[in-house]
Structure formats: structure tokens, C-alpha cells
């Protein structure tokens, strides 16, 4: 089974497979309760609702107007089952792409609530920031620290939720530009480029094959039809 790399960090296979199974669980849950589950773009609100229902949370999301170069968003989780997602309002000069970033950041932060285990928790955010900055650099084959693993996994889960695997091969064959495809899925072009990269596709194909079911419409669905 493959590990995953984003070019600088690696995550454990077992955690990766578990994270992808959560994507499948969330898609399946949403599919049972929505009209036209294979309609694009994927609904962030339905994804949030599925995470709330399946994992027992009450989640709020906020757009926050502040200046920053690095922080795109953050998430607070409380012991009483509440969680708050904060997203920086200004992400991109292009207003449409800005909105796509809001969607992606929201799902990335929501994903933490589905995939993180207690061993991944740390209330001391200043320590987490320290670890993120200090330990993101790839050193040989050393697996990434917990803080990095969690971030990498949450981003992978957000990619898989918002740009489902079942659409990608046709997209590759279409020859359409990432900036064009991004409009279909409501994600930043970065997400399309990342999802369609050789490394990500190889890893995702292997995992979805192993999990044995995927997609908004499930195996055998024809989302384009």
C-alpha cells in the first residue's frame, strides 16, 4: 500500500487508508439523504452535516476579516462536541477563486473532525505552530510528525471529497485546463493540479481500489450521465 507525499512530507499507510475510508463513509452518508448526490460541485454544507451526524459534532463556520500571509484558516475542537472553523476572508484577488478557497479550507478543517484521533489532539496551538514550522522539511524517509501528518491527511481528504476520484480520468482525457476544471468542482486550480498529479493519482487509485467503493454515486455510477 502506498504512503503519500506532498513533496516534502510522508504519512503512514494505515492512517492514509483510514482517512480515505472516512471519505467513503462521508460520501455514502450524504448520498442517502440528498437530492442528486452526484451533482457538482459537492456541497460543503452537506459534508458538514454528515460529519456532524456521523461523528457527533455541532460545528460553526466563520469568515474572518484580517490580514495574513500564511494563515488560511483554523479549527477549534471542544470536549463538549462543539467545533469552530475560522476562515480568512481574503484568500485570492479573484473573487470567484476566493470563494473556491473558502470551500476548500472549510472542508479541510472539517476533515480534521472526521479523521483525527485523540493522539492527534493538542490544545496548545502555539506548540502546534512551532512543530509545523520546524518539522515540515522532508528528511530522508522519516515519517512526518503527528502535527504534519494530520495536516497532510486533512488536505488529502478535502481533495478527495471536493474532487471525487470518479471524475478524474475523464478530466485528464478531456485535456481541459485546471483553471477551467476548477469551475466545475468549485475548488482552487491548485486542488485540480494536485489531484491530477501523477503521484496523487497513483496513490488515490491504489487506495480506492483497495477500499473497493468510491464516488458520489457509488461504484458503477455514471456521474456524467
Amino acid at each position: 500500500m502506498p504512503d503519500s507525499s506532498n513533496g516534502s512530507t510522508w504519512v503512514y499507510s494505515a492512517k492514509l487508508e483510514s482517512a480515505f475510508r472516512k471519505v467513503s463513509d462521508i460520501q455514502e452518508f450524504v448520498r442517502q439523504y440528498v437530492i442528486a448526490p452526484d451533482k457538482l460541485p459537492v456541497s460543503v454544507e452537506d459534508t458538514q452535516w454528515a460529519i456532524e451526524e456521523k461523528y457527533g459534532f455541532k460545528i460553526t463556520k466563520e469568515l474572518v476579516d484580517f490580514e495574513a500571509e500564511h494563515i488560511r484558516g483554523m479549527m477549534e475542537r471542544y470536549e463538549n462536541g462543539t467545533a469552530h472553523v475560522f476562515i480568512r476572508q481574503r484568500q485570492d484577488n479573484d473573487l470567484t477563486v476566493n470563494g473556491y478557497w473558502h470551500r476548500f479550507i472549510a472542508v479541510k478543517e472539517l476533515s480534521h473532525l472526521a479523521i483525527d484521533e485523540k493522539e492527534d489532539f493538542n490544545w496548545d496551538g502555539s506548540k502546534t505552530i512551532e512543530e509545523l514550522i520546524a518539522d515540515h522539511i522532508f528528511e530522508g524517509m522519516r515519517p512526518a510528525k503527528i502535527e504534519i501528518q494530520s495536516e497532510v491527511l486533512a488536505e488529502l481528504v478535502a481533495i478527495e471529497i471536493l474532487y471525487p476520484m470518479e471524475f478524474r480520468q475523464a478530466d485528464i482525457e478531456s485535456g481541459r485546463l485546471p483553471s477551467d476544471l476548477a469551475k466545475d468542482y468549485g475548488v482552487p486550480p491548485y486542488v485540480i493540479e494536485r489531484a491530477l498529479s501523477q503521484g496523487h493519482m497513483k496513490m488515490a487509485r491504489a487506495l480506492w481500489h483497495e477500499i473497493g467503493g468510491h464516488g458520489l454515486g457509488g461504484l458503477g455510477s455514471d456521474p456524467a450521465g
Binding site: V34, S43, K61, V64, I71, R88
Partner: protein, 77 residues
């Protein structure tokens, strides 16, 4: 030398301030906090702490709005 020590002290304040905030939130039940940080290669710890402090300051200043994408296709019971 005095200036750089002073600068170091000022820079430390951002992460110390943030650590204090999270300690206070932990007392209110915070168990985990996660961040989405872009360009980790170009970020410093103090810079990121300062930005998170700015986020909280903006919230406290009312520069925030509830976010609902309005994209639900759920069947309402």
C-alpha cells in the same frame, strides 16, 4: 545588540500571547486546534503566531460573519 534583544523579546510576545490564549481556552474545554498554513517554507513561528493573534483580534472586533455556503441539497424531513 540591545535592539536585537528587544526585537527578540517583542517577537516572543506574539507566541507567548497566543499560548496564553490557548491555555485560557483549554480551561473552557478546548481539546484541539488545527491550522491551515500556506507557504510553510517562508513562514516563521512568530509570524504565524502573530497572524493567529490577528485572527482572534478581528473576531473580537466584530470583523467576522457566519459562513453558510447555501449549497445543501439535503432532503428536509
Amino acid at each position: 545588540m540591545v535592539t536585537s534583544e528587544k526585537e527578540a523579546s517583542m517577537k516572543m510576545t506574539e507566541c507567548m500571547s497566543l499560548a496564553g490564549r490557548f491555555k485560557e481556552l483549554a480551561g473552557k474545554g478546548l481539546v484541539d486546534v488545527k491550522f491551515y498554513v500556506r507557504n510553510l517554507d517562508e513562514a516563521s513561528t512568530e509570524q504565524v503566531c502573530a497572524e493567529v493573534n490577528a485572527l482572534y483580534a478581528a473576531r473580537e472586533g466584530g470583523k467576522t460573519q457566519a459562513l453558510d455556503f447555501g449549497d445543501s441539497r439535503r432532503i428536509q424531513a
